[in-house]
């Protein structure tokens, strides 16, 4: 130790501060006076910067104030005091000897004027904190290594100075030190003390004491996480009975495993970890998902390179499916393997909510413009044998997804027609130019005015215009005869492309049913 210490002592003994020992620490006035004299006395030591002495720094502190001067002194005196720039005070045996730094004295003296000023204001530790040491030089420097109270040790460390912690040897002392560190609110110091405790205490004892010191415990856990001391972290968590955290902390490690096979093996091992019941099933899912993905990946890479499958030729894969979320994998499967019954069965079995399945399958099939698959997705048969369109997500969503995939108007309008809320239906139909739906809706609403107004939105001489005209005529004549209207509707439907006819029939038979109900 202790060249630094010896140097320091020498410094203090030879320095003029020695004269100022204050018995009455509370007497602030006398402190102030003494400080002033200290400053004056320091001028003799630091008289290289005469020009600057009269200046005032940004902090309002006169340059040449205690802290400023001492800073200068610290660097000028050969026995560098614990200036923040020098690592000398690391005299404690726990630290490797630190080579003495080139004194900053010569350099700093090169920078006069503003630079020096700003430094005195900024150098946090340098500025304000020498005062207490000045106050009690004797008491504190008489015996450097053993005289700091736990509180003072913590304070000094907070100011960025290194203190030897070696003398805190009894458990009691160590704990008092830790409690002081926590009371000081500086996490840096708390961690420093914990590192010391970790090195000097058996872990069970440290753990036991930390159990009742939550703040300190958080710091140790965080430190262990950052330092990557996973084993000790797990021991600590186990000791604390925080089994769920043990599990999560282990599971977290999979993020660092790049190789998929190794990752899969690792995840398999995670299934047995003490998660909550709910999370265990998520971990299980994670494992089976990756397992599945590995199989798909191997299969499809083969398919792709063989060049036999049309869908792979037409839409080459952009990325590997490995480590993708479940829904992405589902999308992938719906995109490339939708027709394979086996694949579909597998997906149906999973715990995927109906909504999520439909949304994903819809997006995938729409992207491939496989409109028949889309149609099938929403078609259900009831016990009377009627087919019916049903969607767990609301048809306005369906329309939106189809539209984003550039579905043709004929396809789009089928689903627009199914939107239940009249206003939304009208909005969507108008937006996407599904004229038939708009016209029919206005007809159902018996809204002549809107219908007439809509005439200017359709092409002159088109089938739609004709349809509007005929409806308008019918409305005048037979507004009260629902059957008549129905036939108009059916006639209108005939105008639609042949392939859509089947659905129109469905639609009109549904209409018929509604109308029958209405009449009854």
């Amino acid at each position: 130790m202790s060249r630094a210490r010896a140097d320091e002592e020498e410094y203090w003994h030879s320095s003029k501060f020695r004269a100022f020992t204050f018995d009455d620490e509370d007497d602030e006035l006398s402190q102030l006076k003494e400080s002033k004299r200290a400053v004056n006395s320091l001028r003799d030591i630091v008289d290289d910067d005469d020009d600057d002495l009269e200046r005032v720094s940004w902090s309002g502190e006169p340059v040449g104030s205690i802290s400023w001067s001492i800073k200068e002194t610290a660097s000028s005196s050969t026995s560098s005091l614990e200036g923040r720039d020098s690592g000398l005070q690391k005299g404690s045996s726990s630290y490797a000897a630190f080579p003495k730094q080139v004194s900053s004295y010569s350099l700093s003296s090169l920078f006069k004027g503003e630079l020096c000023l700003s430094l005195s204001a900024l150098s946090d530790t340098g500025v304000k904190n020498y005062a207490p040491e000045l106050r009690r030089p004797k008491a504190e420097y008489k015996d450097y290594s053993s005289d700091w109270s736990p509180k003072d040790t913590v304070r000094r460390m907070q100011r960025g100075k290194v203190c030897s912690l070696e003398r805190f040897r009894s458990l009691q002392d160590k704990l008092v030190l830790l409690d002081e560190a926590v009371a000081g609110h500086d996490g840096n110091v708390i961690t420093a003390v914990l590192i010391f405790l970790k090195r000097t205490l058996r872990r069970e004892i440290l753990f036991r004491e930390l159990e009742v010191r939550q703040v300190a415990l958080c710091h140790l856990i965080h430190f262990l996480k950052e330092a990557g001391e996973q084993k000790l972290l797990l021991d600590l968590l186990r000791f604390l009975d925080r089994t769920e955290e043990v599990a999560l902390s282990q599971y977290r490690e999979h993020l660092n495993i790049q190789d998929v096979e190794k990752r899969r093996e690792f995840l398999k091992g995670c299934i047995g970890l003490p998660f909550s019941a709910e999370d265990t099933s998520h971990i299980q899912d994670h494992y089976t998902l990756l397992e599945r993905q590995i199989i798909i990946e191997a299969n499809d890479r083969h398919l792709e390179t063989a060049g036999q499958s049309e869908v792979f030729r037409k839409y080459p894969r952009k990325a590997s499916i490995l480590n993708m979320p479940l829904v992405t994998t589902l999308f992938y499967s719906c995109f490339y393997h939708y027709t394979e019954a086996e694949v579909r069965m597998m997906w149906k079995k999973r715990r995927i909510p109906d909504k999520q399945y439909v949304l994903t399958a819809l997006a995938a099939r729409a992207k491939l413009r496989a409109w028949d698959d889309v149609d099938a997705l929403f078609t259900t048969k009831n016990w009377l044998g009627y087919t019916k369109k049903k969607a767990p997500i609301g048809f306005h969503r369906v329309v939106e997804i189809l539209q984003r995939n550039n579905a043709p108007v004929q396809v789009l309008q089928e689903y627009v027609r199914l939107v239940e809320d009249v206003e939304t239906r009208l909005n969507l139909a108008t937006k996407y130019k599904c004229h038939d739906v708009v016209i029919e809706t206005y007809k159902d609403l018996k809204d002549r005015i809107q219908l007439t107004a809509y005439k200017c939105k359709v092409e002159r001489g088109s089938a739609e215009e004709e349809k509007i005209n005929s409806i308008l005529n019918n409305m005048v004549r037979n507004a009260s005869n629902p059957m008549e209207e129905l036939s108009t509707c059916e006639a209108a439907c005939l105008g639609v492309a042949a392939s859509e006819r089947r659905n129109c029939k469905t639609q009109s038979s549904a209409n018929r049913a509604t109308l029958l109900l209405l009449i009854a």
Binding site: L122, D186, T191, V212, L255, H282, H286, L359
Partner: protein, 617 residues
């Protein structure tokens, strides 16, 4: 004091000094390693560094090559390496690897690490462990404060949020205290201090501690800032979770403002390159729209364009001399304005395009319902659909958190089903994210209280009463209830709607959220300043889990005539959003006072959510 009628808003103090101080100290530190050297800079420090120095300054001080920390070190011939870093263990290992590799190959160099804003003991310990302690010299660059604008100072410590609120680490409190000390010495003394939150309290105490040692040299000086208000981010998560709709907030949410500047991509600049734009009070166009509700920005911009056109048009019918004047005096300004206008119009268009694609309207509607506490089921299924459609992992998480906080936790059935669907949509590893969110109290399950109490009582049996009290405190902080609904009612955060809320002529701070919600954090500040303390707010304080304080420094002269009495330093520990800044700027204008913002970092909902996600090491 502050709120005695409408007066002229005081001018903010000049924070340029802070930049000069930081720059000068950096130069001093670089000079400590004389001669040519290569400088390795931590990625997070680059933007802040850009704001106070430039490459030519570094070159002047013999920096030869610049590298980014974490990138593979290029084979360099330099004899000296200087590392400008945040105090992180990971970075220490990176440096140690370089030093050790050099040692192995018999290469001798000088190494210097400059920590910003301070050095941590744990870092030194790692250097020691790696066997390079002594081979490197360490220094601190006390760059605590970066003025981003005339009224915003950032500590640029986004990790503060995770470190303190998730990990419970107090490492940055000292930095906050030192930052306060510096501000106090330059612009104080602060006569009055208010605060709420544990971290606020600790920072305040540590700061006072530092001040006590510093011989009170500020006594009798005329302060420029008279009041200070400290607040923990967890006092009000709700505000930070809302979609922002004032222009600056929207720009931040859409393009990410980084250290006061933003990169506008090709879709904004309508050219093929990106432009980096500094967004602050100096930007004549931006400064007029930054605090406006998005809906009024269009009108403003088009008006502005028309004016500009008119000014250009004046050229017609000018004679030669007038034209000469016009070109030499006005044209440059007009061109500059034209450039800015087209950028901001481009930004607006781009925002509109992105937002309409995401059903922004529907989302805002769901958010407002959550804030008001109506139609919770509808909002829940909106969120569910959002997740199912894989819209955005961050947005989905944010909405879930908003639902949880406003409802004091999700009912277990919803929690489970949303979590399952989330994991299926965005990846099973988000299990860890959910755990973190639960831990900080952002996304919880109702009736989780029971299990906690069990642990608590078990632990309590082991220890004395005093310690048990502390533990209970600690547990409370973990499991804190948000009580949002009750607080909202008490403080009237949801304005009564009578007719249309005029967003162009706002009547209260709620305009920053389309008139639907007064930001809680700002409302608390308003109330406390108005009452000059917490008197009468006891119930609110209780619902916010206490830790409030209000201290006047009797030693500081209290002269009501001083403008500084109307200048308030609002300190946000854990981040502050542009919406909050806009709201308090509005309040300041209304009440004739000036708010200065000190934040650990500018935040928004996305940054908060991202801080909760576990990444690979």
């Amino acid at each position: 004091m502050a709120f005695a009628g409408r007066r002229d808003v005081p001018e903010p103090p000049d924070f340029g000094i802070l930049k000069r101080l930081a720059r000068d100290q950096l130069i001093y530190l670089l000079e400590q390693l004389p001669g040519k050297k290569d400088l390795f800079i931590e990625a997070d420090l680059m933007s802040p560094l850009d704001r106070i120095a430039n490459v030519s300054i570094l070159k002047q001080h013999e920096v030869d090559k610049l590298y980014k920390v974490e990138s593979r070190p290029a084979p360099s011939a330099s004899d000296q390496f200087c590392f400008l870093v945040r105090p992180r263990i990971r970075t220490m290992r990176y440096i140690a690897d370089i030093v050790n590799a050099d040692k192995m190959s018999g290469r001798s160099r000088k190494y210097k690490i400059i920590f910003s804003p301070q050095k941590f003991y744990a870092c030194e310990m790692v250097l020691e462990e790696e066997g390079v302690f002594g081979d490197v010299t360490c220094d601190e660059w006390s760059f605590y404060l970066l003025p981003l604008d005339e009224d915003i100072i950032s500590m640029e410590l986004p990790e503060f949020f995770r470190d303190y609120f998730l990990e419970g680490d107090h490492r940055w409190i000292n930095s906050v205290a030192r930052a306060l000390q510096l501000l106090n010495s330059l612009y104080g003394p602060f006569g009055k201090a208010y605060g709420i939150g544990r971290c606020a309290k600790m920072s305040y105490e540590l700061w006072r501690d530092l001040e006590e040692e510093s011989e009170g040299d500020g006594q009798g000086r005329k302060p420029e800032i008279g009041n200070i208000f400290l607040m923990d981010r967890d006092t009000d998560y709700v505000t930070a979770l809302c979609s922002q709709v004032v222009y600056e907030g929207l720009v931040d949410d859409t393009f990410r403002i980084k250290c006061g500047s933003v990169d506008f991509g090709p879709d904004v600049t309508s050219s093929d390159k990106s432009i980096k734009v500094l967004l602050n009070a100096q930007d004549k166009v931006f400064s007029q729209i930054r605090n406006e509700h998005f809906s009024s920005v269009f009108g403003f911009l088009s008006q502005k364009s028309r004016n500009l056109q008119a000014q250009y048009d004046r050229r017609r019918g000018m004679d030669i001399k007038q034209m000469k004047n016009f070109v030499s005096q006005e044209l440059k300004g007009l061109k500059q304005e034209h450039r800015l206008l087209s950028l901001h119009i481009g930004a607006c268009e781009s925002i509109m395009k992105k937002k309409t694609k995401q059903d922004f309207q529907e989302m805002i509607k769901a958010e407002h319902s959550l804030l008001e506490g109506v139609d919770v089921r509808e909002s829940t299924s909106f969120i569910e659909e959002h997740i199912d459609r894989q819209v955005s992992p961050i947005e989905s998480l944010r909405l879930m958190c908003l639902l949880s906080i406003t409802e004091n936790g999700l009912i277990p059935k919803d929690y489970r089903s949303l979590k399952t669907q989330y994991l299926q949509s965005y990846g099973p590893e988000h299990l860890l994210t959910f755990h973190n969110l639960k831990h900080v109290g952002l996304l919880t399950e109702q009736a989780a209280g029971e299990t906690l109490t069990a642990v608590e009582s078990k632990v309590s049996k082991l220890v004395t009463d005093r310690a048990a009290g502390k533990i209970t405190d600690a547990f409370n902080s973990l499991a804190r209830k948000s009580n949002f609904r009750a607080i909202s009612k008490k403080l009237g955060l949801i304005p009564r709607v009578d007719g249309e809320y005029d967003l162009k002529m706002p009547r209260d701070m709620a305009y920053v959220f389309s008139g639907a919600y007064v930001p809680l954090s700002c409302k608390i500040i308003e109330q406390v300043l108005e009452r000059r303390g917490w008197l009468g707010l006891e119930e609110v304080v209780r619902l916010l889990n206490g830790n409030e304080f209000s201290v006047s420094d009797s030693a500081v002269e209290d002269n009501p005539a001083w403008e500084s009495q109307r200048v308030i330093l609002a300190v946000f520990l854990g981040g502050c959003t542009f919406s909050e800044i806009a709201a308090l700027r509005f309040l300041g204008k209304e009440r004739g006072c000036k708010f200065i913002f000190l934040t650990t970092a500018i935040t928004n909902s996305a940054r908060m959510m991202e801080a909760m996600i576990e990444a690979k090491a």
